[in-house]
């Protein structure tokens, strides 16, 4: 089933959701990203019919369902913290959506058992939900939502309460389930690793609206706004002035004593984002054969942190301080093996490609 949200708006107190549009194609996994309070849960509740939007339309596979009750939309919903029915067993929870006759209905029991099998929780069917672990609760909530074989599954931060190892495992299982059952998924979260783990595409929400929609790679490498850059953990956000260079294809960005090239024609006050992993760190005095399409900066490494998968460097430049992420191999080449930093830092050169400097909309 496809999902189309058109010009949807909803108001609660002083907060306004939308107006916003959203298109999720059949079988797609769309992640709604955003900080707490950005309206993600409200959007989900409007989509599944728990909130009546002020205006706008919701279409599922082309059919307008804006006025259709939640249970008749063909949507499964897994709320935050799962909201399992504490007065029912695991089986009772899974059977809940399969009709009033519940356990007395042989077909319903067969479906419940089959769904429990998909999630590997057949052994839990007779258990009281109050005694389950976080991972088990999560699987029961998924089984309850999937037992009705919905065309669209809405998940509200479904793994945020789980430890990291369980989270990874559950995300993998969720991807497998989506492949097996073919449902469309709208997944709300605020965690980037989680989003990368499930998203075909993602939309970043802030203040009740989508600020940017695209693949996770787009959001990460091409944030369009200061909000997006900050949310995508871009550590280098610089404020300065831009002036176009002759030829019109590139502009020069100046921030304090720092000069950077970037693609496009801009003039006036500007903020740019520079992803820490895009900076290329070279030994002091190193040269590049071709200096076109970027700038080579003189800098000093003032701090090195081992972050497990990468090394984080703090760089003092002629202008603002920068942060860079490099591999262990590069660190060995540039700074030596585990050597302590000299007083005043280690001199290096930093190559900044024009394409790595991302001008942001709006100045704060």
């Amino acid at each position: 089933m496809s999902l189309h949200v058109e010009n949807l708006s909803f108001r609660i107190g002083s907060f306004r959701l939308g107006p916003l549009d959203l298109a999720v194609e059949e079988g797609e996994a769309f992640v709604v990203l955003g900080p707490p309070g950005s309206g993600k849960t409200l959007l989900l509740e409007c989509i599944c019919g728990l909130l009546r939007p002020e205006s706008g339309r919701i279409r599922i596979s082309g059919k307008d369902v804006t006025a259709v009750p939640p249970g008749k939309r063909g949507i499964g919903y897994v709320p935050q913290d799962y909201a399992l029915f504490p007065h029912l067993t695991v089986e009772g929870n899974i059977l809940f959506g399969l009709g009033r006759r519940g356990g007395r209905d042989r077909e319903a029991r067969r479906k419940a058992l089959e769904t429990a099998g998909l999630l590997g929780i057949e052994g839990l069917l007779g258990r009281d939900v109050r005694g389950l672990s976080g991972g088990e609760r999560q699987r029961v909530a998924l089984a309850r939502a999937l037992a009705r074989r919905p065309g669209i599954l809405l998940l509200d931060e479904p793994v945020s309460a789980l430890d990291e190892a369980t989270r990874e495992k559950v995300l993998g299982e969720l991807r497998d389930l989506q492949r097996a059952l073919g449902f469309t998924m709208v997944y709300v979260c605020h965690n980037l690793e989680e989003a990368f783990g499930v998203a075909h595409r993602a939309g970043l929400m802030g203040g009740g609206r989508f600020l940017q929609v695209g693949t996770m790679g787009d959001l990460l490498r091409r944030p369009r706004s200061l909000f997006a850059a900050r949310f995508m953990r871009c550590e280098n956000i610089l404020a300065g002035e831009a002036s176009p260079l002759p030829g019109g294809e590139e502009s020069l960005f100046r921030a304090e004593g720092l000069e950077l090239l970037f693609a496009g024609k801009r003039e006036g006050p500007l903020q740019v984002a520079l992803r820490p992993e895009e900076l290329e760190i070279l030994p002091a005095g190193a040269e590049r054969e071709d200096r076109r399409g970027g700038v080579l900066l003189e800098a000093r490494v003032t701090r090195v942190e081992d972050r497990g998968g990468y090394e984080k460097l703090e760089l003092a430049t002629a202008g603002p301080r920068l942060s860079a992420h490099i591999s262990r191999e590069t660190r060995r080449k540039v700074l030596g093996e585990g050597a302590p930093l000299r007083e005043g830092g280690v001199p290096v050169r930093v190559w900044v490609r024009a394409g790595a400097v991302l001008p942001l909309d709006g100045v704060e």
């Binding site: 509740e45 599944c48 019919g49 728990l50 009750p69 939640p70 249970g71 008749k72 949507i75 499964g76 919903y77 709320p79 909201a83 029915f85 504490p86 007065h87 809940f96 959506g97 009709g99 009033r100 309850r144 939502a145 009705r148």
Partner: protein, 273 residues
């Protein structure tokens, strides 16, 4: 958060603090036990036998039992939708409605009897109801009316508290699983509020079982007709049968104590937090 906390490391000051707290607890409970002992010591075996053999007292016991039970049924019939409405919906006048629900808990029960008497004897609607043959004044069914008026608030308050404890998201999830509003109420909210509703019923029953003042005004104290157990206490002591009056009082206390204990066992700490 758990209310019974493990003691922290403390010295003399800490022990003095605990001793002071418990001194007041023991003083209050001690006074209660002392008063109750006086009653128990005063009652003799013939008085107890009278309570369980006198046809008037047995009639009063039976009348107390069925009227209180009927009052609970009627109170819960209103308490379930009202408690749910007050717990889940915000609507204009909600605070006023909430206050009015509590009113009978606060005003003297005597006022309820007087209000009912005035309504049925002095207003056109009241007189019309009485004229249809559905009589309440000086009738056993008037007892039920008095009991509902005085004790329904307890049911509404307790049922509301029980619904307050239930996460509304559970009902929302039920809606997404194909239930309608009725289904979500009957399959999720009601079973989860079961203990609270039962506790509300018991509290209402105990309150209805013990009312006296409004009955004296609205239904009178006719032996064998409108006499309930609290009326028996009044009648027996007024004719000098103090031992019998006390024996009936002890029966009332035992019923009330049993009801409160049952509520605590059913609801744990939630109700009286």
């Amino acid at each position: 958060m758990e209310r019974h906390e493990a003691p922290a490391v403390g010295g003399l000051e800490s022990r003095f603090f605990t001793a002071t707290i418990f001194l007041f607890l023991f003083l209050f409970l001690g006074a209660g036990v002392l008063l109750l002992s006086a009653d128990v010591l005063y009652v003799d075996m013939p008085a107890v036998k009278t309570v369980f053999s006198d046809p008037n007292i047995l009639h009063a016991l039976w009348l107390s039992l069925w009227t209180s039970t009927a009052a609970v049924a009627i109170s819960l019939l209103f308490a379930l939708p009202m408690g749910y409405a007050l717990s889940r919906y915000s609507f204009p006048g909600r605070i006023l409605a909430d206050t009015m629900v509590d009113l009978p808990i606060v005003f003297p029960p005597l006022v309820a009897g007087l209000t009912l008497l005035v309504f049925f004897s002095q207003t056109a609607l009241g007189r019309w109801i009485e004229s249809t043959g559905l009589t309440f004044v000086f009738q056993p069914r008037g007892i039920v009316l008095c009991q509902v008026l005085v004790s329904a608030s307890y049911a509404i308050r307790t049922v509301k508290a029980a619904f307050d404890e239930i996460d509304p998201r559970l009902e929302k999830v039920a809606l997404t699983l194909g239930s309608g509003r009725w289904g979500a109420f009957f399959r999720v909210a009601l079973p989860l509020a079961r203990n609270g509703i039962l506790a509300g019923g018991i509290l209402t029953w105990a309150r209805a079982f013990g009312i006296f003042g409004p009955l004296m005004i609205f239904v009178g104290s006719f032996r064998g007709r409108t006499e309930v157990l609290p009326t028996t206490v009044f009648l027996e002591q007024s004719i000098g049968h103090l031992e019998v009056a006390l024996a009936v009082s002890l029966l009332l206390i035992a019923v009330a104590g049993g009801a409160l204990l049952a509520i605590r066992l059913l609801t744990g700490k939630a109700l009286f937090r």
